[in-house]
């Protein structure tokens, strides 16, 4: 598929309001099944246990940004094959067709309850949102855009870690994005991260852990090393809640756990609280 066609498909997906037809959702936390309609009406949160399931970047933007406020940035970036890993290009095209995404992150500018910000959303359906050159570059540009435009940056993270198929180049994206985070911070810019299921590996060990405010969604998997790697090292089974959002909160690496239904309000409040007088960009509309 040509990239131009793909971009059109992406645009269409934003404009087409449908409920995806999927088999019933089986919750990975409580194993209960829920039909797709119920789940989508509940913002893709398991009604039985409150697990916040993985959603597409399109759905995330739709439920986070004010309607019609989102403008995508840097959407023409697409992966090459820096270490010439066999089959990588094919894998990328296959994922592009399957997800309608060009890569594992969408970035742009939007308003959330009228508060303008730069936003980035990672999508775990695209190669587990692993970070290669494109993800690293788009995240870095989002930091730079926020700094240039003096806007807050809100990143929804999800990732299996570094993009192995890009070898050392993917590892370096950790330094690149963290350096961009440091520069935004030094310029006084606000950076909010929302850790969603799953945020692990090289993304946890770089920009995801560097927010001024770190929010997590309930029951999200958050950690550095893979659970099975640790179990292999210590030759023991780990407790169920190990590396959960709640575990990270308890150990001091997350500021707050926020339900999806309260996410917009929390983010917009936080943005306002970081203004010198806590003012709103636009006066609040009268309550309905």
């Amino acid at each position: 598929m040509q990239l131009e066609d793909l971009l059109k498909q992406v645009t269409d997906r934003f404009n087409f309001d449908d409920t995806p037809k999927q088999p019933p959702f089986k919750c990975p936390r409580c194993s209960e099944s829920t039909d797709t309609k119920t789940l989508s009406d509940n913002m893709w949160v398991c009604p039985k246990c409150g697990y916040h399931s993985r959603i597409s970047a399109f759905d995330r933007i739709k439920m986070t940004a004010d309607e019609g406020s989102f403008t995508e940035t840097d959407k023409g970036l697409s992966s090459l094959n820096p270490i010439e890993f066999p089959g990588y290009e094919e894998k990328i095209s296959e994922m592009q067709e399957k997800t309608g995404l060009t890569e594992a992150v969408i970035t742009g500018i939007c308003t959330i309850h009228n508060e303008k910000c730069v936003i980035g959303v990672m999508d775990s359906h695209f190669m587990m949102a692993s970070m290669g050159s494109v993800v690293g570059e788009k995240i870095t540009r989002a930091f730079e855009l926020a700094q240039r435009e003096k806007l807050p940056l809100v990143l929804f993270t999800a990732s299996g870690g570094a993009r192995m198929q890009e070898g050392l180049v993917s590892l370096m994206q950790m330094a690149k994005t963290s350096g961009a985070a440091a520069r935004l911070s030094q310029s006084g810019g606000l950076y909010i991260t929302v850790l969603t299921d799953p945020t692990t590996g090289g993304v946890t060990a770089s920009f995801a852990s560097l927010g001024d405010v770190i929010i997590a969604e309930p029951k999200a998997l958050i950690g550095f090393a893979g659970r099975r790697v640790i179990e292999g090292t210590i030759k023991q089974r780990l407790p169920e809640d190990f590396q959960s959002a709640e575990f990270m909160l308890e150990n001091g690496f997350v500021d707050m756990i926020v339900d999806r239904k309260n996410m917009r309000r929390t983010i917009s409040h936080l943005i306002r609280l970081h203004r010198p007088n806590g003012e709103r960009t636009v006066p609040e509309a009268p309550a309905k």
Binding site: E4, V134, E166, L171, M172, M174, A175, G179, S206, I234
Partner: protein, 273 residues
Amino acid sequence: MDDLILTPFDRLSIVRHKNRPTIKDYLPLIFTDFFEMHGDRYHGDDRAILGGICRFDGKPVTVIAEVKGRDVFENKEVNFAMPHPDGYRKALRLAKQAEKFSRPVICFIDTPGAYCGVGAEKRGQGEAIARNLYEFMTLRTPVVSVVLGEGGSGGALALGVCDELAMLENAVYSVISPRGFASLLWKDASREEEACNIMRITAEDAVSLGVADHIIAEPAGGAHNDMETTAENISKTLCKMLKSNSQKNIDDLLNSRYNKFRRIGEFSEITPS
């Protein structure tokens, strides 16, 4: 080693050789007046990372190094050079101290990777590495790094945000161990050698990918065959790297450090019509 073509897997075998010199061997050959400093001031002292102040070429420097053990006892002490968050936080403490006293920082990378364990997760392995990447990028003093043997993943990069990076001729630097690579991508850890040979992990690869700036020659067969000569070669490269970076204005230095990493990445870009 000009007469011999070594595969990446051969090089990996050389850096994993039981007599491969470690920072403990090189330290007295390269530096004088070494004072070791311990602890991160939060939790403990991680022996997988050694740090302290000493003289290089007569001038004060801060040295931060990942430590491989030379035998089973040393390896137990240094946890096979796999640091916990406490090690990275000790490294950061010493780096901030170097910044305060305007000493250059010299990092030595030699680790299979950051430790994967329960304590490491509880104390925030991810945050500790991230914090180092963030802080080293804006550290207002020259930072140079040398990969001595294995540069494994984020655990190596945590000491790898620097103005210039050198690698010993046989050293490797990779996003994951070749065994891990094979097991993740092919679900078959036994294809380690094959993984090793396609991952582009050698010093030459790192130079061509824009990650490393210098290759430090090793004697024929590897550093263990002549530690003194290797140490001398490391000293010469350190001298060169410190000289070129110490003369720069600090803001220029930080811009070029940022851009060194900012440039890395390969992608295509079209402007949508």
